[in-house]
Amino acid sequence: MKNFITKPFWIVLLLFLLCWNQLAAHFNTLILPSPAETLAELNSIIQNGVLAKSLFITFKRTFIGYLAAVITGFVLAVILKKFNFLSRALRPFITIIQAAPPVVWIALAVVWFGVAEDLTPIFLIFIVSMPVIFVNIFQGIDSIDYGLIEMAEAYSTPKYKIFRDIYLPGILPSTVSALSIAFSFAWKSSVFAEFIGSSSGIGYRISMANSNLKTAELFAWTVVLVVFMLFVEYYLLERLKQKVSRWRYEK
């Protein structure tokens, strides 16, 4: 969290909250709830246990879909890089998947799986974040210094060691950025899918709050989503990035 908690950030955040508070005084709660009302609503969903339950459900779905996307994207990138004819045959399909808007996939998912509890969100998460992982790793493999591999081979280094000690660390920087970008995609798709095609999770709660005109609750959920995303991005992934940057060299 180190490089996140900086003075300028807190000052701007404070200014933002003040502006919001001032603005909210001029509007109906339905249109713009105040920070205090949002906080009260947040407190209420914490107290009645809805927050923990929904967060867990959404997180579980995100995690499954994301993990499947990471593994598939990675394996696919490695295989396609290894076999050129597969690359020529399949590479455009990844772009096609990426080109189709998420709303198309969610519409299809609802048709295929119905308003399924887990399947619809997991499908969307997978289909949206897998290409991100794939493209980053695919390009990452290209950026590996071939001279290092040639050197290692010249010194009779076994293949598994070349993979473990040159290929893997070589694509680590692009893997970290892929993980980070794909997670934000996954997290947002998860909520989006729940909003449209599920009856549980944060997205569903937002959808309910929206149709019952409980704008303060909608704001409260947004705070939860953003805070969680920040936690993953600046805490978990930052640690990974720091580990990588220890040896990262300027190109």
């Binding site: 210094d145 001279g147 050197m151 010249a154 010194y155 280094t157 000690d165 040896w247 060299y249």
Partner: protein
């Protein structure tokens, strides 16, 4: 008579119909430092790559004992950025030596190269000269039979060059590991080599072969014998300069307004 350890016989190589090497012949002897000297673009790196087995020749033979252990010093240091100085050596040593033996040799080499204090640093934390020294000692860290060096002195300053030359000399003296050194600098060649092959540009092959009979430790650039060899080398390089002298008339008239 020393043993022949590597022989290139009628080796030819071309890239995209451009002939880089044509029927090239040369041989290396055990325990010697053999220098290949040539101007840039004369195919030095190609010979380095073919002789060391990194690349295949289009035709001709490379005769060597395949059980020979080879070391490589690349022009640009090829170090793993995510491994420490010591880790870079160990990574390669593991393929050839027992850890106990490897660690002992690693310690001595790091000390010799002035890298002892930096053994736990990463390559990006080292200067250019330090990286080149690490690249060099890595080649020797596996107790090789023969080390190939592709312009290890390129883009180094005078002091760093001197240190590196000294390092090579001492290791060579104490280990009698054979060295094949590629360079474009006649000075390095006359100070280090037992034999010098001078490469002519444009795929014309070896132009001249010179043997130096003087103890490496007693060689000085000011020594008449060494100076004479340097002169001889420079003379073989001066084709272009001679041409220029012949063209003076044309040059002068062309510059007239």
């Amino acid at each position: 008579m020393k043993n022949k350890i590597l022989k290139l016989k009628n080796v030819s190589k071309s890239y995209d119909n451009y002939s880089v090497l044509k029927k090239l012949n040369m041989e290396l002897y055990a325990g010697e430092i053999t220098c290949l000297l040539g101007p840039s673009g004369s195919g030095k790196t190609t010979i380095f790559r073919i002789a060391s087995g990194l690349e295949k020749a289009d035709s001709g033979e490379i005769i060597k004992d395949n059980t020979m252990r080879l070391g490589y010093v690349f022009q640009e240091p090829r170090l793993l950025p995510w491994k420490t100085v010591s880790g870079n050596l160990a990574f390669i040593q593991q393929n050839f030596l027992q850890e106990e033996k490897a660690a002992k040799l690693r310690k001595i080499l790091l000390d010799m190269a002035g890298l002892k204090k930096f053994k736990d640093n990463y390559p990006h934390e080292l200067s250019g000269g330090m990286k080149q020294r690490l690249e060099l000692i890595r080649a020797f860290s596996i107790i090789p039979d023969l080390v190939f060096m592709d312009e290890p002195f390129k883009s180094l300053d005078t002091k760093t060059k001197y240190n590196l030359r000294k390092l090579i000399t001492v290791i060579h003296q104490e280990s009698s590991i054979s060295i094949f050194l590629i360079t474009h600098d006649p000075e390095e060649a006359v100070l280090l080599a037992d034999k010098i092959y001078i490469l002519a540009g444009g795929g014309k092959g070896i132009k001249e072969k010179i043997t130096i009979d003087k103890d490496r430790q007693e060689r000085k650039l000011s020594d008449p014998y060494i100076y004479g060899i340097q002169e001889k080398i420079l003379n073989t390089f001066t084709g272009l300069v001679k041409d220029l002298d012949l063209k003076r008339e044309v040059i002068r008239s062309s510059f007239k307004k």
